[in-house]
């Protein structure tokens, strides 16, 4: 594995048989991540461990902090120092990070947070799979916001989406969460790391105006303000308080409206750029299985099985979970009879689908409560049962 020039991504081109956790770490390195601030937690610790080996080789830093709160705060700091930064954790740690994820949102700080989900609530099943932090990623921090969350379903995609996550974080100036799950994180399969030239990297937009009179929170048309970082002479300023374009606290409803509207809209109005979906056999489908993460592999298997049985089932995979693909699902709902959602939780995406379809199709959750994954045949059986 090669390349140690300062501030250039480390791309360890080659073929590997490795785990999702290592792949997401490799993807982050390939995206140009130079700082990892973290705290170990099963089942994510291998991400940290791998970064602790690799980052110093590429002139970055790995710091294991005293807790998850320090970890998230440190990566916001590093991002304002101009480095791409990340952390990795699981449910309990993510819960602790929420306050400062909010700071990242408010200060529009690009960074990436990996949540390798285990089953909960609370300590739950630390070594076993869950997909129960989906709504948490959307609503966990206080106050209103919109975020971006991605969910890989293969080791290869852990690598690919790590790069996407950093690119989206940089483009939209927002913390991006990668919602993995224990199975994806721990299982090993083939990973192909392409050549460096083949990897598309997005970097944050820089201001071009003079430092004097520069308005750090004045957005361009795309609703995203260019981002100067520390040391560039712009005297950057951040605050978690409601602020104006100068970055000064503006403690009143009007300023709140202006700021929050932009923070929400920069995600909402750019949904098309952010949302990634995988569709399969949807054209003639009478039924659809929506899924994501490890569950989606069984879901796709189930589509094949069902088709063998003559059931017209299609498949939609949420690669981007947040923002939610309201429009596409609403379209699909108009054409199909029923939508099934295969997920390892008590119906977190199911609820979202219910909201979106507005009664246009039946909606059924194919739910597991944690600790085990769906099998394709289980899904098919459950669909058949519901259709009776």
């Amino acid at each position: 594995m090669s390349d140690n020039k300062e501030n250039t991504p480390m791309v360890n081109t080659g073929e590997y048989f490795t785990s999702g956790n290592l792949a997401v770490a490799e993807g982050s390195l390939a995206a140009g991540c130079k700082f990892f601030g973290g705290y170990p937690i099963t089942p994510s610790s291998e991400v940290a461990e791998h970064m602790s080996i690799k980052l110093p080789q590429t002139k970055g830093h790995f710091v294991q902090f005293e807790d998850e709160i320090a970890s998230i705060a440190s990566i916001l700091g590093a991002s304002w120092g101009g480095w791409k930064s990340m952390t990795a954790t699981s449910g309990p740690g993510y819960s602790l990070m929420l306050e400062n994820i909010g700071l990242g949102i408010m200060t529009e700080t690009p960074c990436v947070i990996v949540n390798v989900q285990r089953a909960g609530p609370s300590t739950g099943l630390p070594t076993l799979v869950g997909q129960q932090d989906i709504q948490q990623a959307r609503w966990g921090s206080h106050g209103d916001y919109e975020i971006i969350a991605l969910s890989p379903n293969s080791v290869q995609e852990c690598f690919d989406l790590a790069i996407t996550a950093f690119n989206l974080a940089e483009e939209f100036r927002v913390p991006v969460t990668i919602l993995m799950d224990e199975t994806i994180g721990h299982m090993s399969e083939k990973l192909v790391i392409p050549e460096k030239e083949k990897i598309e990297i997005v970097n944050r937009k820089k201001p071009t105006d003079e430092a004097d009179g520069h308005l750090p929170y004045k957005a361009d048309e795309d609703l995203i303000p260019p981002m100067a970082v520390a040391g560039e002479g712009y005297n950057v300023i951040t605050t978690g308080l409601t602020h104006d374009e100068r970055g000064y606290p503006a403690l009143e409803a009007d300023a709140q409206k202006v700021l929050l509207t932009r923070l929400l809209d920069k995600i909402r109005k750019n949904k098309d750029k952010i949302i990634r979906l995988e569709e399969y056999m949807l054209d003639d489908a009478e039924f659809v299985i929506i899924s994501f993460g490890i569950s989606s592999r069984a879901a796709k298997g189930a589509v094949n099985l069902a088709r063998e049985k003559g059931l017209k089932v299609g498949y939609l995979r949420l690669i981007t979970i947040w923002p939610f693909p309201d429009e596409r699902i609403a379209q699909i709902a108009e054409k199909v009879k029923a939508i099934f959602i295969a997920e390892i939780n008590s119906g977190q995406v199911t609820k979202e689908v219910q909201r979106v379809v507005k009664g246009e199709a039946e909606v059924h959750g194919l739910l597991k409560l944690g600790g085990a994954i769906h099998t394709p045949s289980e899904i098919v059986e459950e669909i058949e049962r519901r259709l009776k």
Partner: protein, 289 residues
């Protein structure tokens, strides 16, 4: 106002205005609050170090003191309550030339942020931490805090506080802090000297400034005005450079010991260690580790 009447020259601008963000004065601090004085001194100290202002970053948590960063015309970061230090460490590590100054309150740094404080000291992180200790929580209206002394009254200590306060210099010393000083807000000039030394210091430096908060502290403790608090500092402060930090605990009455307590130079810092690890990593990488 006519100069004839007051005998002073009326000015429009202060010589330090350029170091303050435009339009941010008057600040929000109460009349008789010493936070403005500490801010003046920070600027003076930075000027004296001759460090390129581009390489200065100031980071605050939340609180009255925590508003300091937002006024200063450097790279400045107003973070969340208690988290200035880890934010600062992340920021600082991205450039070894960057000087990192954390300024925040006793509640921010020693209550909710206590864990980060002790770990930063333990790691000898390359940051200067200025703690303005006004013995309680100003911003939220005067609750008791971990530096409130025994017998102090606050909104959440209505029958008086009976808990032992932290002795902050001793606390950070026990974790390995390599520069430790304490002054009162009245000792502006010495505060400045300590700030200069702290900023120039390699590794973790800690300066405690005992501040005057008449509004939420003084009012409840027979010190209704800032001036009364400064007067009491004048009476009680005793300089004891190099004294064992165990002996500098503060109580309701008696001397307040100030001075430079610790100044150690040879301990590797967090940055030193991480750069060493980079070297080890590059070496072992060639061996295919």
């Amino acid at each position: 106002m006519t100069e004839e009447e007051i005998g002073l020259l009326e000015a429009e601008e202060h010589p330090l205005d350029g170091y303050l963000r435009k339009g941010r004065i008057p600040h929000i601090w109460c009349p008789g609050c010493s936070l403005g004085s500490v801010m003046t001194v920070i600027i003076e100290a930075i000027k004296e170090t001759d460090i390129d202002p581009k390489n200065i970053s100031v980071i605050s948590g939340i609180g009255c003191t925590g508003r300091t960063a937002g006024y200063l015309n450097f790279d400045s970061f107003h973070t969340t309550h208690g988290r200035a230090i880890p934010f600062a460490i992340g920021l600082g590590l991205t450039d070894p030339n960057r000087k990192i100054i954390v300024i925040s309150g006793d509640g921010d740094l020693a209550s909710i942020g206590g864990n980060h404080l002790i770990h930063a000291a333990r790691r000898n992180a390359d940051i200067t931490v200025i703690c303005v200790n006004n013995f309680q929580y100003g911003m939220t209206g005067g609750q008791v805090g971990p530096t409130s002394y025994k017998g102090q009254f606050q909104t959440t200590a209505p029958y008086s506080n009976l808990e032992e306060p932290f002795n902050l210099p001793e606390l950070v010393k026990s974790c390995g802090a390599t520069y430790i000083a304490r002054w009162t807000a009245l000792d502006v000039r010495r505060v400045k000297e300590s700030f200069v030394e702290a900023i120039n210091h390699k590794g973790f430096s800690f300066v405690e400034v005992l501040g005057a908060c008449p509004t939420t502290y003084g009012r409840r403790n027979q010190l209704r005005e800032g001036i009364a608090i400064l007067e009491s500092f004048k009476e009680r402060a005793v300089i004891e450079h190099g004294i064992d930090t165990e002996k500098v605990a503060i109580s309701k009455e008696g001397p307040i010991i100030v001075g430079k307590f610790v100044d150690i130079h040879d301990k590797p810092t967090l940055t030193d260690n991480l750069l060493s690890i980079q070297r080890m990593a590059t070496a072992s990488k060639d061996k295919g580790a």
